[in-house]
Subunit: 243 residues, 2 copies
DNA sequence: ACTCAAATCATATATGATATATAATATGTG
DNA sequence: CACATATTATATATCATATATGATTTGAGT
């Protein structure tokens, strides 16, 4: 059995529990929860992979997944296709799916791309983020610092960064950055396990970034985000290429 | 019937006919042609969409596709999932697939991202491109200028730009740029149909870019690529928002 | 007889086809 | 507007086929 977790696959709407201030005046975001099995499996597997429950190299056998998730292989296959397109798994014809193992060269390229896009991202988001979103982000940081479980921390971390992408839920820039960040996350688990102190530095960097967003200081925010990214890459280098 | 084209879906290995110089001393690249129906359909549909044979808004009905392509819906569905992930089609649950129609705002964002990544791309590719590849690229330009069919020109254009991405066949940077470029191509067809003179300017810009690559002038190449991208966006603005 | 490579075979798994059922959406009709 | 109908996607189940992988056997050369 690959996954211990039982159904339901459909999870809570908002990983943060929602912002009370926001929900007072707006409709509660209208169920972003997937309505198809395929979407459920995709989300479920993506989270399991990012959280480290399915570490790189894990084989994902269609029949086994269908068995543990109590459904037919059809939605499983389509979920795997989707995750493959996101770069989280490697899908070889007639050989099956394996959770992707990023190489150091790959990580370096990903961080180069992210670094090139970050100034754009900060510039396009910092002026449009609502104070409600920033409050949610701050609550997330509180939650993260108190979170004992590393897997859960990673989920919250993803949500924090997603918030900083701004109010545009659908944006190619956001999409690209999210995907690249997700692939990098494949490795973060390993890194954090070997160097637990990294989490504390990340927490501190998040605070600083949030502060820059609050004052809408684009240059400062950009600079902090870049160093944040860079420190992650540096720790990756230390683990993967300890010379 | 959606597609006039009959099988075989499996197409020629190299769209350019290969480089005789390269094949003399190396193994002929070992069949990159897809071996599964799903991969065949994906490639087939992607080309049909990019070439403009399936213009934006076209509905892609699974049963019809299965019928015209002489296969079951299973590989069709997975191909659609893949293309949806690439942003070429919109896939709504229980509603089906439609060839994506990019908005002007979307195109502007895509070109912003491409512009941000182009310096990186040029820098990482210009020093590593082989002279054989550049010769192939030049042959492509000859072919493009002589090509009467716009759809075919677009295929060749894609191949030309792919060549300039360098020898790294698998690279996240290349992948991201290719995807964004493909989405933009959805619109290029329309633009070219309304303003046929654009093709000539594009041809000229391609020549200049290639020249800069030949002399390995990074700054010049970057500058030319950016203006090339920008002229495409400008024409998009003229067609979509003719004020 | 021994070693190593090639061929063979069995198994696991993905891929593809088909049939059927259900659910959601779109469309037409009253 | 309500309702029935048609269309289509989604999901399940079952099966046949194709491919990859590993174990086993075979066989040639030493």
């Amino acid at each position: 059995m690959i996954l211990d977790h039982r159904l339901p696959l459909v999870e809570e709407r908002s990983p943060v529990g929602g912002n009370p201030l926001a929900t007072k005046h707006t409709i509660p975001k209208l169920a972003p929860s997937p309505r198809t099995s395929q979407a459920n499996v995709t989300q479920h597997l993506r989270r399991a992979i990012l959280a480290g429950h399915l570490p790189p190299g894990t084989r994902l056998v269609q029949a086994d997944l269908a068995d543990s998730l109590q459904m037919s292989v059809t939605p499983i296959r389509e979920a795997l296709r989707q995750l493959s397109s996101e770069g989280l798994i490697d899908l070889d014809a007639f050989r099956g799916a394996v959770v992707h193992t990023p190489t150091l060269a790959e990580l370096e390229e990903i961080f180069e791309i992210r670094a090139a896009l970050m100034p754009l991202s900060v510039r396009k988001s910092i002026g449009y983020i609502t104070s409600a979103q920033l409050q949610t982000a701050e609550a997330l940081l509180d939650q993260m610092e108190a979170e004992p479980d590393q897997a859960e921390w990673i989920v919250l971390n993803r949500e924090f960064h997603r918030l900083l992408y701004g109010p545009m839920t659908t944006s190619h820039l956001h999409n690209v950055l999210q995907r690249l960040s997700d692939i990098a996350t494949l490795y973060i688990n390993l890194s954090f396990t070997q160097h637990p102190d990294q989490r504390a530095s990340a927490d501190a960097e998040h605070r600083a970034i949030l502060a820059a967003y609050l004052t809408q200081d684009v240059d400062q925010a950009t600079h902090l985000v870049l160093t944040h990214i860079n420190s992650t890459l540096e720790s990756a280098r230390m683990v993967l290429d300890p010379n």
